[in-house]
Amino acid sequence: MASNGKTNGKAKGNGQWVGKKFKRKEDPRLVRGISHYTDDIKVPRLAYCVFVRSPHAHARIVSIDTEAARNHPGVLAVVTAADLEGLGMIPCAMQMPDLKIPSHPALAKERVRYLGEPVVAVVAEDAYAARDAAELVVVEYEALPVVLDMEKALEKESSLIYPEFGTNKAFTHAMKSGDIDAAYKKADRVVKIRLLNQRVAPTAMEPRSIVAEYLPGENRLTIWASTQIPHLLKTQVAIMVCLPETAVRVIAPEVGGGFGSKLNVYAEDGVVPWLAMKLGRPVKWTETRRESLMVTIHGRDTINYLELALKKDGTILGLRAKILADMGAYHQLLTPLIPQLTALMLPGCYKIPAFDCEIIGVFTNKMSTDAYRGAGRPEAAYDIERLMDCAARELNQDPAKFRSKNFPQPKEFPFTTAAGLLYDSANYQQSLKRALQLAGYDKLREKQKAAWKQGRYFGIGVSTYVEICAIGPSAATPAGGWESGTVRIEPTGKVTVLTGASPHGQGQETTFAQLVADQFGITPDDVTVIHGDTLAVPYGIGTFGSRGTAVGGTAIYFAVQKLKTKIAALAAHLLSAKPVDIVIANGRVGLKGNSKKSMSWGELVLAAYTARNIPPGFEPGMEATHFFEPSNFTFPFGTHVAAVEVDAETGETKIEKYVAVDDCGNVINPLLVDGQVQGGIAQGLSQALYEELVYNEDGQLLTGSLMDYALPKAAHIPEFILDRTVTPTPVNPMGVKGVGEAGTIASTPCIVNAVCDALAPLGITNIDMPLKPERVWRAITAAQANIPVAAQLTSKPGARSSRRPA
């Protein structure tokens, strides 16, 4: 692993701690297994819940017999939809003009519409009794026709999941700019491709889990939940169970990853608190891995029709896209939002004068899709980066040069894209150059020529991505896009930071401590970051969309500035100096280099609390809160390069080299940024090569366990060569952009581009993901049957496309 962290911009705010590799404060307790996740929470009289789920993808519920289950020893309650009086619907936060939002009860009423939909909840004294009793519940179903294929679902003859809507179409949404017809008229070539972005499972290490305890005397509902959004969950659960929000407290203890899947409000999040209130007993539910794969939201699942209109010289004239997005059977919190992000980011990092994109949301009898690491942007990057490779091949141009030709120049930033976004800052040329240099691109191309001559399939994939982060300005987000930060200097001088962000693996207990330590001239060990408790932390939005540092960190930064003003005022008073002359550094406050006119950090802070000698009008104490509203998103970018060799006999792909040059603006902790990039690439290349949720024709999940669903293992992951360029954003004072999703966005098209590039002599332009060896082998076999062997070794046929515009 190499990361020299070369910078091209002046890293603003770099100090003693910011910008340094500093080991995570979180890790000692995590690696020793001595911290607490939701399932570790034990409260007196805790009862356990198990859900009886639909074994059908689509069926009418004929009858439910719960008698045997109710009579099972230890059982406290067995409830169906009919019992759930006073429990509201599962929320969808999206509003769009023609969006159809189905009523989404927490337990299925009359019909089940996807495999695993909860039908009955069983609560017992222990998890064993609950599980045993669940087996005794008898539900009679009458199977209904199953709708799985999006394109068939939109045909007139298709059976309907919601007859009341008269269609399986959930919404249509168009995005246009420029004159697309003129672009096509001017075009020398139009390159077309149909891409599938398969359904995958976020698969956080810790499955979902919730504990709810209701104390009627205090009228307090306490919820421990494995969530990315404790405050939003609090509000939503309060609404669902009809309690004032002030009566609900949500605590997110250790959260073992989310990848977007815990940025949601699920059926269980309503049922478990409702049961706790009804039974007067605390109730726990923890998802099994099977449930996690089946009924935690899925990611991706889109069909993409893409066309690029081009001039012979490689200039892009227009981009046309039609995207079908599988919603699943219901909308979860943000389901219909995800494909909008795809449309917004479809133009990628290119100048595209005309853009015409239509997205169609489709209901199917599957689990809902929603945000999964990248949330719409990996789909966009996959679309545009695959299309760029096909176009380069069609024009017989080098894919790297072809990309570069269509980049906006650094001086063109802020740059307005074809989708109407204002990209903050970038230098795509520099990123590409650095990545090609690190990869030894020219040598790799020579190696490729030699390999092809020997009948070996060696390929190079390039992906130059841009993503949208620091989500985001409130006007563009369903629930508000700001974040809160509170900084409290305690009387001893130690600092408590409260953040509305809700890190669940990102490591912001460390990076926020570094940030604050530098500002106050103390050490990260002096700073404790508190998050994930709605009773302790002012209202916040949460952690998702690579927003934790750029939005949550910035809120803290501003709260710190408020305190620095206050510290300067107090120090000036005590030292008979001017506030502007006060310097805070190395544990001291006062005039620089004048020990007589300075005091220790501890003395100064204590003076604010003892308050015996304070300036007139000075508010005692040392606490400040800031709610930061960003003025724009940020747009991190980068270049990934992969070299692969495909075994033509078996279809197996071996990654020989992987280079990633990412730019997330200024870096607070390079160690954590590298970790995010590595994990992201692992997940992204895993989508390219391994992962897929497969439903059979009956809507049964064939990849419902980790014995079938291929998560990447250490042996699947190559060595990564990492580097960075640094282009600070002007959107926030720290110049930080966000890095949580970059790896996942860039790597998927990079790998598929590399494999298709390897197979170029066979005329293969596309293979659908995941690139399972059998699929690759079949593509090779089919191509070999069509092309004489001699030609395979020498020629490089172009992409299949219309030579003239249609």
């Binding site: 998890a127 064993y128 599980r131 045993d132 087996e135 099994t288 891995r289 099977r290 006999e649 078996t650 197996e652 090569l689 391994y690 497969v694 064939l702 990849t703 366990s705 980790l706 014995m707 079938d708 669903y709 291929a710 998560l711 293992k713 699947h716 399972k772 060896p773 059998e774 082998w777 079949r778």
Partner: protein, 285 residues
């Protein structure tokens, strides 16, 4: 992930275990538990009695007994994989063991447990067959020695009688032969999509003897007899043609990861590659 209720016994001696096994029809033996326990947690298996063999002393060994290396049934995959005795005298089984699951599985799973489970894609069966090993089983009526070729009778079924417990595996030495196990890993389960174990004597001018065990393709692991027959006495140049018969007469299985046709194809490719490697490098000689 909560199994149904079951009784649990942990006998200290083989005799105790045999009598417990004979006493209950719905008993299951626990010998590592890396297949059984997940099945129980998913309620795909619900034995009324679990007999944990882990406390029985003296079934965890690898010994040289002259003609054969004898391996106690409770020897873990990790021990088999790293046995210097096996690596020098009969390395094929060690190669197979090092390909099983992951480190955690290899540290807990046992060779006896794996063989008794008879998973159609398990790694050991290919090697056990190629080596013409013997499986020793005990019941209350005494010892029975089962040749590998008679051991695997179907998917998850073996020649073991309900009252028998595997105690030992006897593996012939392969000194002077090339021995190679080549495996195509399932990316999720780690099981063999196809696994080919070969033992070859001779050189590229003349293959004197060859035995080939293949796992993952069909319901049970098998000896690729047609390939063996086509190669005895032939030069290495015959390998490519002979390997085309790697899945002859086998009803191949398919699933959403690898179709039957693809598995047959892989059997050919992996058989060819394993043979070539065994002959050229004389790995394990």
């Amino acid at each position: 992930m909560i199994p149904a209720a079951f009784d649990y016994e942990s006998p200290k001696t083989l005799n105790e275990a045999l009598s417990l096994l004979a006493s209950r029809e719905d008993a299951k033996l626990l010998a590592g538990g890396h297949s059984l326990l997940p099945a129980m947690k998913l309620r795909l298996a619900s034995p009324a009695l679990l007999i944990d063999l882990g406390r029985i002393a003296g079934l965890d060994y690898i010994r040289d007994s002259g003609e054969t290396i004898n391996i106690g049934a409770l020897t873990t995959h990790a021990t088999v994989a790293s046995s210097s005795l096996l690596l020098s005298a009969s390395p094929l089984l060690a190669q197979a063991a090092s390909n099983i699951g992951d480190i955690q599985v290899r540290n807990r799973g046992t060779i006896g447990g794996s063989l008794a489970q008879a998973h159609p894609s398990a790694d050991y069966p290919a090697s056990i067959l190629a080596l013409d090993a013997h499986i020793v089983a005990f019941s209350q009526s005494g010892e029975r020695v089962i040749p590998a070729r008679a051991f695997f009778t179907g998917m998850f079924t073996t020649a073991l009688r309900p009252d028998e417990i595997i105690t030992e595996i006897r593996v012939p030495k392969t000194t002077g032969a090339g021995a190679v196990y080549k495996k195509f890993h399932h990316p999720a389960s780690g099981y063999a999509v196809v696994g080919v174990a070969v033992v070859v004597r001779g050189n590229s001018a003349k293959i004197e003897d060859v035995s080939i065990g293949i796992t993952g393709v069909g319901e049970i692991a098998y000896r690729a007899a047609a390939v063996e027959d086509a190669l005895r006495g032939k030069p290495a140049s015959a390998i490519a043609q002979a390997a085309k018969h790697a899945a002859d007469k086998v009803e191949a299985l398919g699933d959403n990861y690898a179709s039957a046709e693809y598995r047959r194809h892989l059997a050919e490719v992996y058989t060819r590659r394993a043979l070539q490697e065994a002959l050229s490098s004389k790995r394990g000689k």
